[in-house]
């Protein structure tokens, strides 16, 4: 009788595939975040992006080091589980799951907004059901695509990512050469500097323009030679995204529009002012900016909405991909029931996870769209959430989930540097303090501390300035923790403590299955040398 092997995720993601998974997720964020940040932080939007950008670089470096050291599906939650234990691993994973399901809805939603630039009926306020139904259809369609398989999606991602990098470079080159006025930028920053509360809101929203590095570490288990590939793709991704975010925000503030912009009273206004209190414009900011770039705008008016819509759809797809992989990884560590680990026999994709978290995304869509669909719900939202709806609703939760999970990842990075110094780190964050912990030479990462302080500040800003993030975010976490306790109690597993795991054996297996055999040998040698040192120094 033939031996029936357990189906596993296949390693089909190439270097460009790994970059484009990340780019299609993070790269699309600016299409969503730009309008929201310009509306909230006005003249300080570029400062908001700069603050979040610095934190993002720290996050990016942390993820790069961790994903290259532990190339397994699961990303942030796996690092936290390994560094801080089961319960914190679950909380981080559950926060990331919130982010990925929001990602599915938020990007499908803005995909429709960008499409409305060419098909205005999609965001027509008289027919809110059209927007809702189209967004819903996109989510269901992506769910089916993901059940079929990853290889098809990766090829498509790669093509669109390349097209988008070229397009954004074109917009920014023409914008900075023909429309950018540095004195106008300085003038707008001085004249329209926001209140402290609005600046905090802007900073917390700008972090949503940098969410998605998780995708690279998610794809780690499906990437060929991850320890070598991931640092390369991540560093390129970090720089590309940072430059785009800083460039767009500076251009939006210092741009002399190609065509004069006037308000309802016929007064001339600055470009960034068209986003104030206007959710329709906030949802398609990059397309509106591209329209105002001299010469290039005539051409960009037609293709940027289409390209933006496609990129956002891919990003939404990354959300489906990411959430299913996290659930798969959490299930394999007994943080979620084993059904999330089941892989489809034919397509070899985690079908149950994909369907389940797509359903959560649909639920979030319903909550976000309710105020525009039903006047009764609008009144309730006005009372509970200061009238926030649609994009605000989704952006609030997105910022909360990202800030929570990233905070844990920084602590996990420090813990792993202290307690797992033997794992070979092919990429290491710069700026470290050498020290000795339990007889082993370790390096304390200063950048992780800076990053933690930054992201923790953003988490506080989110809780302080976002009515929905403040209520719905912690509620999601609480529900998850209750679910976790019930599941662990039924399985007779420790509730607060961690399960006993042989991390050494697991690390060897991780590196072996990743094809990183040199690193595996190095790890085994490190472990042997460490054991010998301990034996020599142990009292007889």
């Amino acid at each position: 009788m033939p031996d029936k092997a357990t189906p596993e995720l296949r390693r089909s993601v190439t270097p460009w595939g790994s970059f484009s998974w990340g780019y299609s997720d993070v790269g699309a964020d600016i299409f969503v975040g730009l309008g929201l940040v310009l509306a909230a932080a006005a003249g300080a939007s570029n400062v908001a992006f700069l603050f979040a950008g610095i934190v993002y670089v720290c996050i990016g470096l942390a993820y790069t080091e961790l994903a290259a050291t532990y190339p397994v599906a699961g990303g942030g939650q796996y690092f936290v589980l390994r560094g801080l234990g089961d319960i914190f691993g679950f909380i981080a994973g559950w926060a990331v799951l919130l982010d990925f399901t929001i990602d599915v809805t938020l990007f499908a939603w803005t995909c429709v907004d960008y499409s409305s630039q060419l098909l205005p009926i999609l965001t027509e306020s008289r027919f809110p059901w059209i927007h809702f139904i189209v967004t819903l259809s996109l989510i269901v369609g992506l769910c089916v695509l993901n059940v079929i398989g990853v290889r098809e999606s990766t090829a498509f991602n790669g093509f669109v990512s390349a097209l988008d990098v070229l397009s954004e470079t074109g917009i920014l080159c023409f914008g900075f050469l023909f429309a950018f006025k540095p004195d106008l930028l300085v003038h707008n920053m001085h004249m329209y500097w926001p209140s402290t509360s609005d600046l905090m809101l802007g900073i917390s929203l700008s972090i949503i323009s940098f969410v998605g590095l998780e995708s690279i570490s998610q794809a780690a288990q499906e990437t060929q030679r991850p320890a070598s590939i991931i640092p390369r793709t991540s560093v390129a991704l970090i720089l590309t995204i940072l430059i785009f975010a800083l460039a767009y925000s500076n251009l939006a503030l210092g741009m002399q529009p190609w065509h004069p912009i006037v308000d309802a009273q016929g007064h001339a206004i600055q470009f960034f002012q068209i986003f104030h209190d206007n959710q329709d414009n906030q949802g398609k900011a990059v397309a509106l900016l591209a329209n105002q770039v001299p010469y290039y705008g005539a051409f960009a008016a037609f293709y940027v909405p289409i390209l933006g819509a496609i990129l956002l759809l891919i990003s939404s797809n990354s959300g489906v991909f990411g959430s299913s992989r996290i659930a798969y990884a959490m299930s394999s560590k007994n943080l979620l029931p084993s059904m999330f680990q089941r892989v489809h026999a034919k397509f070899r994709t985690p079908m149950i996870s994909i369907v389940c978290f797509s359903a959560v995304a649909v639920l979030e869509l319903i909550f976000a769209a309710l105020p525009s669909l039903d006047p009764g719900a609008k009144a309730i939202y006005a009372h509970l959430f200061r009238g926030e709806k649609g994009l605000d609703f989704l952006a609030d939760l997105y910022a909360f989930g990202a800030a929570t999970s990233y905070s844990f990842v920084f602590i996990a990075l420090i813990a792993l540097r202290m307690f797992d110094p033997l794992s070979p780190r092919k990429f290491k964050i710069p700026l470290n303090i050498p020290m000795t912990v339990r007889g082993e030479r370790v390096e304390f990462p200063i950048v992780a501390v800076i990053g933690f302080l930054g992201i923790f500040a953003i988490l506080i800003f989110t809780l302080f300035t976002h009515p929905i993030g403040r209520i719905a975010g912690p509620t999601w976490l609480l529900l998850g923790i209750v679910f976790y306790f019930i599941y662990r109690a039924r399985k007779k597993l420790p509730l607060f403590r961690s399960e006993k795991r042989d991390w050494r054996k697991q690390q060897v297996e991780i590196l072996r299955s990743a094809g990183e055999l040199e690193l595996m040998d190095e790890y085994i040698a490190n472990v042997k040398a460490s054991d010998e040192r301990r034996t020599r120094t142990a009292p007889t």
């Binding site: 570029n46 900075f176 540095p182 930028l185 300085v186 590309t240 430059i243």
Partner: protein, 66 residues
């Protein structure tokens, strides 16, 4: 084919550096009147130059090993 791809990447990287220089050159004269407000623009210019130079150095390294 591979050389053509390298040349086009080199051209793109040179454009990135040039754009960074243009932004920096236009922001620096405002240092006195703009004060803190020029910081994001200067960071952008420097980031573009750093990214472009990094990409060019990678391309040069690939060319040397060919």
């Amino acid at each position: 084919m591979r050389n053509a791809a390298l040349y086009s990447r080199g051209l793109l990287s040179t454009l990135i550096v040039a754009l960074g220089v243009v932004i920096l050159v236009r922001m620096i004269p405002l240092a006195h009147s703009g004060g803190f407000a020029i910081l994001p623009g200067v960071v952008l210019g420097l980031a573009l130059i750093a990214y472009g130079v990094h990409k060019i150095s990678l391309i040069v390294r690939i060319r040397r090993t060919q």
